[in-house]
């Protein structure tokens, strides 16, 4: 008895001492994540120095703002789906045919070393030289171009980690190559798909620079209008409401994706 309780005590002491290491992060999170969030929350309910719901009314009664939100969501979905359709085959081929990691890095990671604003501006220049009209199409292209690696990498990781013997077992049980893919590889790669979607969809609905540069400000996305609220019109209250809406959307997306992930494969969540 005595021994076990002293054991427990020493373990507790150890836990406390370990906890200390997390304090810097806690403080960091507190200052740079929690406090800003509280400030946004606070700002959302303040107009002309008084507590009010007026900001919410302003946002939800403006047709324009809601249309921008809708636009952003549609563009986010489109980007994510196209990235998935483009990225999956690439990740599959890379994983299947044992392409060296170096080749993979060269193809998909090296472009990421260049600042994304510079890349976006470069694309803009290319479009202008080619006389392509800047607009929704070019914004979509820019989004896909920038976020495709974030789809491929998690997919590649998941696909390479699938044991070869599953495919062989399916083969052995009567599957041809196509049904091996449909019945085994695809279901087993769901965690990668989920994590790819999360890494593409959530940034695309909140980004602002790509649409600004690649559409000459003709396409307004949700991120752009939040940016505008703070910078140009200085209506911080409405901007804060919009940020909250964004936050809620992100949380909903995460919850949905995680639930879907849990339903299909147990314990394979990467996000």
């Amino acid at each position: 008895m005595n021994k076990s309780s002293s054991n427990q005590q020493s373990r507790r002491a150890l836990m406390i001492s370990r906890k200390v290491f997390s304090y810097p992060y806690l403080i960091f999170m507190l200052i740079f994540v929690v406090v800003p969030l509280v400030m946004i929350l606070f700002n959302a309910f303040i107009k002309d120095d008084s507590f009010t719901l007026a900001n919410f009314v302003t946002f939800f009664s403006q047709r324009e703002g809601l249309a921008i939100l809708g636009n952003s969501l549609v563009l986010g979905f489109a980007t994510t789906i196209i990235c998935l359709l483009l990225g999956y085959p690439v990740a599959y081929i890379l994983a299947r045919y044992h392409v060296k990691t170096r080749t993979l890095a060269l193809l998909f990671i090296v472009p990421m070393w260049i600042n994304f604003l510079i890349r976006t501006l470069a694309i803009k220049e290319i479009f202008m030289t080619l006389d392509v009209k800047l607009g929704m199409g070019t914004v979509l292209f820019g989004m896909i171009y920038n976020y495709l690696p974030f789809m491929i990498l998690p997919l590649h990781t998941t696909l390479t980690s699938i044991d070869k013997s599953y495919g062989e077992a399916a083969n052995d049980l009567g599957c041809d190559e196509v049904s091996v893919f449909a019945r085994v590889t695809l279901p087993l790669s769901v965690p990668g798909i989920i994590s790819g979607i999360t890494m593409v969809f959530i940034p695309t609905i909140s980004t602002f620079a790509i649409s600004q540069y690649l559409s000459e400000r003709t396409v307004m996305l949700f991120g752009d209008s939040i940016d505008m609220m703070f910078k140009l019109t200085e209506t911080w209250g409405v901007g804060s409401v919009m940020s909250l809406v964004m936050l809620v959307l992100v949380i909903i997306a995460n919850v949905l994706l995680n639930r879907f992930n849990k339903d299909t494969t147990k314990g394979g969540g990467l996000v």
Partner: protein, 490 residues
């Protein structure tokens, strides 16, 4: 039921990156047999199994299944199922769906076959849900997992996963079941239980089992026929009793059970000499003074008193250890053999001996297993690199032959003239130790060079299998004979 051949391998070879893993093997398996491919790791047994399953294509040779050549038929079109080494149960499916996996894909004939425009047709359909459920439940019952259908595969123990893997394969009613070291991951007791269960399943189902293992005891317990493989070659095919009692060569003897292996000479029919003495045996038909290997199982040697009439040789006891139902006694011969060495003999008998005691040993002539040597000298065809320099396996060896460069020659090196160097960089060529067999006073090692020539070497040191070593040969020990080249080739 006629025991016709169900699977036949004909001159099968498989090479991975220049490494011949399976070398020209031929094997036929009868319907309903329990066949075990037995051998040390890297002997080619799993590759052979994978070629039967269809995961690998042989580089040459043919595989016949029910008389049809299936060498290029993909695995999903073969009526063969596999139980994988690590089970490979699908982690995204529960137990029921894992077992139902094959059934959901399977097509069965629907209605009578009919003819249209002289071509025969047969409608097919998928199995109905009820049919699948019935079959899966029956399979679950067979492996004693009746209530486990809705469990997730991760929640099962190793033994249970093993049973699911077996059920998943058997539910498809294959004609042949392949098992790739299926019990390797289980603990000893579970393994023993599963061995018995697999045997009773085999008896009940009557289908052909092809089992791969490196565990000789497992093979001896379960099989009708054992195929002993080593270094990509089939060394012996036979029943467990035959393999144990009459090993075909020293590799089989060394791998299965314990053995005393010695080099000897067949003086004439029924007379063999080894360990510096002559013995009566039951073998004949060898050449006069042909060098042979003698194998004696330790349990076939009887301890007698040194002055007994039956005593064939006197030995000194080095150690005697109680092993339950016998004493394992290690002895050293009192007399020297023709090379001037005293040899170790391992004896299993129920007589306790004291260390240092001189005892006599008796062996029945019938228990001296005599076999031809697979090789008496290392011989290879190569060419001269320069005068007094010969190329052997890519290395330049100095020699005594004054022949111009590029002369084709035959090189012969005796077993004990090959020098093994501990550090591979100090040898003229490098090699890997692939076999090391104790022969009483020295070891017979087989060294595989990087271009896959195998050197047989007699050495006093024990080398571990898998070690990298260097090889040197003294110039005066390399015997070189020029060979004539066919003029037609030029």
């Amino acid at each position: 039921m006629a025991k016709e051949k169900i699977i036949e391998l004909l001159n099968i070879s498989k090479i991975y990156d220049g490494n011949p893993v399976v070398k020209n093997i031929s094997l036929s398996i009868k319907r309903g047999e329990f066949v075990t491919l037995l051998g040390p790791s890297g002997c080619g047994k799993t590759t052979t199994l994978r070629m039967i399953a269809g995961f690998e294509r042989p580089d040459s040779g043919q595989i016949f299944f029910n008389g049809k050549n299936i060498s290029n038929v993909p695995p999903h079109k073969r009526n063969i199922n596999t139980v994988f080494q690590k089970y490979a149960l699908f982690p995204h499916l529960n137990v029921f769906n894992n077992i139902a996996f094959g059934l959901k894909i399977k097509k069965v004939p629907d209605g009578e076959p009919y003819e249209k425009d002289g071509v025969k047709y047969q409608n097919v359909r998928s199995l109905t849900k009820d049919e699948i459920t019935t079959k899966v439940n029956k399979a679950l019952e067979m492996v004693d997992l009746a209530d486990f259908g809705y469990r997730h595969v991760d929640s099962l123990s190793g033994g249970q996963q093993q049973r699911v893997a077996i059920a998943r394969a058997l539910v498809n009613e294959p004609e042949v079941l392949l098992l790739d070291e299926p019990l390797g991951a289980l603990d000893l007791k579970m393994r023993k239980d599963m061995q018995l269960e697999l045997m009773s399943m085999h008896k009940k189902l009557g289908i052909t089992f092809i089992y791969v293992t490196h565990d000789q005891e497992e093979a001896l317990t379960m099989s009708d026929t054992i195929v002993v493989m080593d270094r990509g070659v089939i060394q012996q095919i036979g029943s467990p009793v035959k393999i144990y009692d009459e090993p075909a060569n020293i590799f089989v003897a060394d791998f299965i059970g314990e053995s005393n292996i010695y080099t000897g000479i067949m003086n004439k029919d029924y007379v063999v000499s080894f360990l510096g003495k002559q013995f009566t045996c039951v073998d004949k038909g060898f050449k006069y003074d042909e060098p042979i290997d003698v194998i004696i199982r330790p349990e076939d040697i009887k301890v007698v008193s040194a002055d007994d009439k039956k005593c064939l040789m006197c030995v000194e006891v080095l150690s005697s250890v109680f092993k339950g139902n016998y004493y394992q006694t290690t002895c050293l011969t009192c007399d020297e053999d023709t090379y001037g060495d005293r040899n170790e003999i391992l004896v299993h008998d129920n007589v306790e001996c004291t260390v240092g005691e001189i005892i006599g040993l008796y062996i029945k002539p019938f228990d001296l297993h005599i076999m031809r040597k697979s090789r008496v000298v290392n011989k290879l065809i190569t060419h001269m690199e320069d005068n007094f320099v010969v190329d052997i396996c890519g290395g330049k060896f100095e020699c005594m032959a004054d022949l111009p460069a590029d002369t084709p020659v035959e090189v012969e090196v005796e077993f004990d003239d090959v020098l093994i160097i501990d550090d591979e960089n100090d040898g003229t060529i490098c090699a890997e130790v692939v076999e090391s067999i104790y022969k009483g006073s020295y070891y017979l090692c087989i060294l595989r060079t990087d271009d896959y020539y195998e050197f047989f070497v007699d050495t006093l040191d024990e080398w571990n299998k898998g070690d990298r070593v260097g090889i040197n040969i003294n110039a005066d020990k390399i015997k070189i004979t020029p060979i004539e080249v066919n003029d037609e080739q030029e």
